[in-house]
Amino acid sequence: MLTLSHYLILSLLLFSIGVAGVLTRRNIIVVLMSLELIFNSVNISLAAFSYYLHSLTGMVFVVFNITIAAAEVAVGLAILVCVYRRRRTTNVDELDELKG
């Protein structure tokens, strides 16, 4: 029997993998992809809660989240394009002008 915990653990696993990707990958595009993993894991969690709670809020929230995540990707890639134009790199570590 599938329980809520199954789905939540799956979601947690994807979330952790996403966080690990943000922390370890040097390519900004892959970092952004890892962020998408995080949002997806949240969506699984919300949908699972929604299903097991018999409440539709979670489902609606997922729809909103998917939309907002798409918007975020657009803005993120736009910023990335700006960075690339200035610095000709997608390596996170080469961006260290601001520090201290």
């Binding site: 696993l13 922390l23 040097r26 798409a70 910023i79």
Partner: protein, 173 residues
């Protein structure tokens, strides 16, 4: 029983491809692995009796977002990553930290439980989830729905302001 089997199949594929996303050497591969993960998530949504979400997931994520990603990868990142280390050196600390996070989270999830057992929507209603979600969205969630439209607008304007206008400036220079 079948449901369980499918859940494990989808989950395992999702996790493996997710790990591949963050460990693949090239960004293009990462993008493809991510598409696989997103498809599995859509399948999970179906297991959760919400085909509408699954459809949205496929349309928006796989159809729109990933195309955007692939586009960005192709335009900005042609094979450059091979030249530099693709993994950050702080992995030594980051990976254990994430594992600790996972262990703590898993412990809390297994120990946790929810407080209410409300049965707002019976099984039958969930079967028609597209319709119900639609009603909810234009009913109770009308206001956030409108706000989300503004979010999309701002993404549009923002992308134009940063990318399109930037090119105009480049031309002038």
């Amino acid at each position: 029983m079948m449901e369980q089997v499918f859940f494990y199949i989808f989950s395992i594929i999702a996790v493996i491809s997710a790990i591949s996303v963050i460990s693949a050497r090239s960004a293009v591969r990462s993008a493809f692995y991510l598409i696989i993960t997103l498809m599995q998530v859509a399948a999970i949504f179906i297991l959760l009796r919400s085909p509408f979400l699954a459809a949205v997931q496929v349309f928006i994520y796989v159809g729109a977002v990933m195309v955007l990603f692939l586009f960005a990868v192709m335009v900005l990142d042609i094979g450059r990553e091979k030249l530099v280390a693709y993994m950050h050196h702080q992995s030594v600390i980051a990976v254990p930290a994430v594992i600790v996070f996972f262990i703590m989270g898993a412990y809390m999830i297994i120990r946790g439980g929810w407080n209410v057992s409300n049965a707002g929507f019976p099984e039958a209603a969930l079967a028609k989830s597209s319709e119900v979600i639609g009603k909810e969205m234009f009913g109770r969630y009308l206001f956030p729905f409108e706000v989300v439209s503004l979010v999309l607008l701002i993404a549009l304007i923002g992308a134009v302001a940063l990318v399109l206008r930037g090119r105009e400036k480049d031309k002038q220079c």
